[in-house]
Symmetry: C2
Subunit: 165 residues, 2 copies
């Protein structure tokens, strides 16, 4: 038995340095539009999430809200594990509890380089920085229902947004 774990990078945001607090940097209008297109395409592909966990940073939270508004999920939660100082190992106890609820599909909305590093550690156990994870891109993993997912997950999807819209 496996669970589906989707990792989704936030959409195009304002330029780095244009906000006093980088955590507040929002999606640009183009970023919002493209993220909506990606969300609509995911919906059309019959993808749904039992739960969405998002980085608390504005550009990620906005991305997660667009996914939910498109009908992909009705359950959204912010988590410090997905901010820049979060770590996969710290997140695992949360994931282990979530797994026990019987839910089957989870989406994580966050940032680079965290998301591609999590992808590589979940699938191969270590990080080579050989995964290209574009803004508003999506990764799909099959994760075991028990035991550690690190090095034990399978990758079935990786796509930049340009192949979704």
């Amino acid at each position: 038995m496996t669970l589906e774990l989707y990792l989704i990078r936030h959409g195009l945001a304002g330029e780095h340095g244009s906000y006093a607090n980088d955590d507040e940097r929002p999606l640009t209008e183009e970023g919002q539009r493209k993220t909506r297109q990606v969300a609509d395409r995911l919906h059309k592909l019959d993808i749904r999430f039992d739960h969405v966990l998002t980085s608390p940073l504005v550009r990620a939270r906005q991305t997660a809200e667009i996914l939910c508004a498109a009908g992909l999920s009705q359950s959204l939660e912010a988590s410090r594990h997905l901010a820049f100082d979060g770590s996969l190992l710290d997140w695992l106890p949360w994931f282990d509890q979530w797994r026990q609820t019987g839910a089957k599909t989870l989406a994580l909305v966050g940032h680079e380089p965290c998301l591609s590093e999590w992808t590589e550690r979940l699938v191969w156990g270590d990080v080579k920085h050989h995964v290209v994870f574009k803004k508003a891109g999506v990764v799909g993993l099959l994760v075991p229902q028990s035991g550690t997912p690190v090095g034990n997950s399978q990758i079935f999807w990786l796509t930049p947004p340009r192949f979704l819209i």
Copy 2:
């Protein structure tokens, strides 16, 4: 500078054991139809191949012919390196020569478990069997223009056909 290397698995074929010589097993009608849909979608996404190298087995050759007929490439060649007894290391000298022609995009059409093993060895250097590579699925790699691509390539795309049609 990088090259784009696409790996494409043959479409749905007749049942294993239904042909005296397994190499002759052709695509089913459904396999042909779905492969055409995937090829048309790739064309719409502006994907083109300077060259297509295919396993000589019937189901792979038919898949490659469908890709070419959809306008994705005008250059098709069969190669024993992509048959079941082919190996990545034996293929590398051919690839090295091809790279020197100045061409930029290459598609390989073949079989499992070879294609997902090649993917993992090109990107991470070793094989864990953690890549899910469906029939008529596609992988996209960025491969360096010189030096060995093994363990030095990046993955930017992996998709099952159901997300393409």
